[in-house]
């Protein structure tokens, strides 16, 4: 097999990625609920002074953790869930205390907003949302009339342009080609295409010529034109799942949700797992009884 010379090495670190983000940015986070979330990048944001972020996410603990740390001004979401624990405790508190602004959308509307941004369109039409209170709580949403004989009124879902996208995949090469080996690529490619700056963490960086040894060509869901930075982050999705490399750490997720319910317990959780660097996090996770 022919070896490939990396023309541009995009490898970087969590800290360098976070240094590229600014207060007030709109940040899209890939994955789905408590599945394949770029948690090491999220943890690096928790350690940073960043604030006032707008998050766009098929939400899971990424949204909860960032809300709990006071990093979030607004959440654009269709749901926020931990899957096996249906409701995200920190997100609930953030909404119930009025700490964050919300833009609540149908899941398909969220996809359409990302797709519109990816394709540089001002909006895409959809029926999702019509008749529901999604239209009432988002008074800025407009409808558009079909110019054809049907004359149907449709929601003009506006583009959700992102300042930055953060996603986590199984493998990537140093040039930014990303590979998802699990059953569902979710919408990670759209998050990257909708964003100005695109950062991918991965379980393992491999040589370009080895990508197809890991999985078939259909698993290469990100190409290097869609990616600006690659972070090698083994266990980077923990405690969310990253099939087939590892499943969700249900015991840890239960510990997380339990701690979130109580200020004192949360404080010790934070000191133990979050006020430390990524290596410290991994040690703390490995060392728990």
């Amino acid at each position: 097999m022919t070896a490939v010379t990396a023309t541009r090495d995009k490898r970087t670190t969590e800290e360098e990625v976070v240094a590229e983000l600014r207060d007030g940015m709109t940040v899209g986070i890939g994955g789905w609920a408590s599945r394949r979330k770029p948690m090491s990048l999220v943890r690096a944001i928790l350690r940073s002074p960043l604030r006032d972020l707008t998050l766009v996410s098929y939400g899971g603990p990424d949204v909860g953790l960032l809300c709990a740390a006071g990093k979030v001004a607004k959440v654009v979401f269709g749901f926020v869930s931990l899957d096996t624990i249906p409701l995200e405790p920190h997100f609930r508190v953030a909404r119930q205390s009025g700490a964050v602004e919300a833009m609540e959308l149908d899941e398909g509307m969220l996809q359409w907003g990302l797709y519109a941004a990816a394709l540089r369109l001002p909006f895409l039409p959809t029926r999702a949302g019509i008749g529901s209170d999604v239209m009432a709580v988002n008074p800025h949403l407009r409808t558009v009339r079909s110019p054809y004989s049907d004359g149907e009124d449709l929601v003009a879902m506006p583009a959700l342009a992102l300042d930055a996208a953060l996603v986590h995949v199984n493998r990537a090469d140093a040039r930014g080609n990303g590979q998802v080996l699990g059953p569902d690529p979710y919408f990670d490619d759209l998050f990257c295409m909708a964003a100005r700056r695109r950062f991918v963490s991965c379980e393992r960086v491999v040589a370009t010529e080895d990508l197809l040894r890991e999985g078939p060509v259909q698993t290469l869901v990100l190409n290097r034109s869609m990616v600006d930075g690659v972070v090698e982050a083994p266990g980077g999705a923990h405690f969310t799942s990253c099939e087939p490399d590892y499943g969700r750490d249900e015991a840890f997720q239960a510990e997380y949700a339990k701690a979130a319910a109580d200020a004192e317990a949360w404080s010790s959780f934070r000191i133990r797992y979050l006020d430390v660097d990524e290596a410290g996090y991994r040690r703390a996770v490995a060392g728990r009884g």
């Binding site: 789905w32 939400g59 979401f77 269709g78 749901f79 926020v80 869930s81 249906p86 409701l87 997100f91 609930r92 909404r95 119930q96 205390s97 009025g98 919300a102 609540e104 959308l105 149908d106 899941e107 398909g108 509307m109 996809q111 959809t126 029926r127 999702a128 949302g129 019509i130 008749g131 529901s132 209170d133 999604v134 009432a136 709580v137 049907d150 149907e152 009124d153 059953p183 569902d184 690529p185 979710y186 919408f187």
Partner: protein, 243 residues
């Protein structure tokens, strides 16, 4: 559970999307018995051709297709799907709420979010499963319309009106539908051991009650065998309903 299975009768070769243990058992029971053409996933992205037990597994899967979320959305908008979702609140015309309790701007209780409910109800048949039929869940007015009910669908234009359908609402007490002239909720059947009065008392709005209300049918011996031996050998069904 048999009532949940009955929701899929006649659906044929479409994607059945049951959310929750009892709806999932219902859909899998329907396919294992009277509705063999249904498409079902493993709860994630694989379409599975075999009768899969509920629970963590792992169980052997005969994978017949790849139903990643993007294709779920496409299938949904294409209309080849029937979903059975939960409903924290539901009203007389079938408006459903899974978003929040209280004022949306600052809710008393944040729930999961509207999820795909607005798009589901605009595009294809939707059913609901409510494990705790009470005046807290069957309310005069829901706090945040997530899934669209009949009155609102009628005002949402010809296309949505024609494609909108709330098939059934299955609860721990009864089966309800909207087979009335004004599309308000009707009592279709009462589960064995539950009285009609109990159902009416647990419903926070005026329910249409026909002069004769049948009892929800019991599972056949063959259905019981499939549930106990194949689909739920560990008894997960009992965790979701007490009665």
């Amino acid at each position: 559970m048999v009532a949940c299975a009955e929701a899929w009768r006649g659906d044929g070769e479409i994607l059945a999307s049951p959310i929750g243990t009892i709806p999932m058992l219902g859909a899998r029971l329907a396919r294992a018995t009277f509705e063999p053409d249904l498409l079902l996933t493993d709860g994630e992205a694989y379409l599975v051709a075999n009768d899969l037990p509920v629970g963590p597994g792992p169980f052997p899967k005969v994978v017949e297709g790849w139903m990643r979320y993007r294709l779920v959305f496409d299938t949904l908008w294409a209309g080849r799907r029937h979903v059975m979702m939960g409903a924290t609140q539901i009203d007389r015309y079938g408006n459903q709420n899974i978003s929040c309790i209280g004022d949306w701007a600052r809710p008393k209780a944040q729930l999961i979010g509207v999820r795909g409910a607005p798009g589901n109800t605009a595009n294809h048949p939707t059913s609901y499963w409510v494990p705790n039929h009470s005046t807290r869940s069957f309310v005069a007015q829901v706090d945040m319309v997530s899934g669209v009910g009949y009155r609102r669908a009628a005002e949402a234009g010809d296309w949505i009106r024609q494609h909108h359908e709330i098939r059934v609402v299955v609860t721990n007490k009864a089966v309800l539908d909207f087979d009335t002239p004004d599309r308000s909720m009707r009592l279709r059947s009462v589960h064995p051991g539950v009285t009609l009065e109990e159902v009416v008392a647990a419903t926070g709005f005026e329910l249409s009650v026909p002069s004769s209300v049948p009892e929800t049918r019991l599972p056949t011996p063959e259905e019981l065998r499939v549930i106990r031996d194949v689909l739920d050998p560990t008894g997960l069904r009992r965790a979701e309903v007490s009665a």
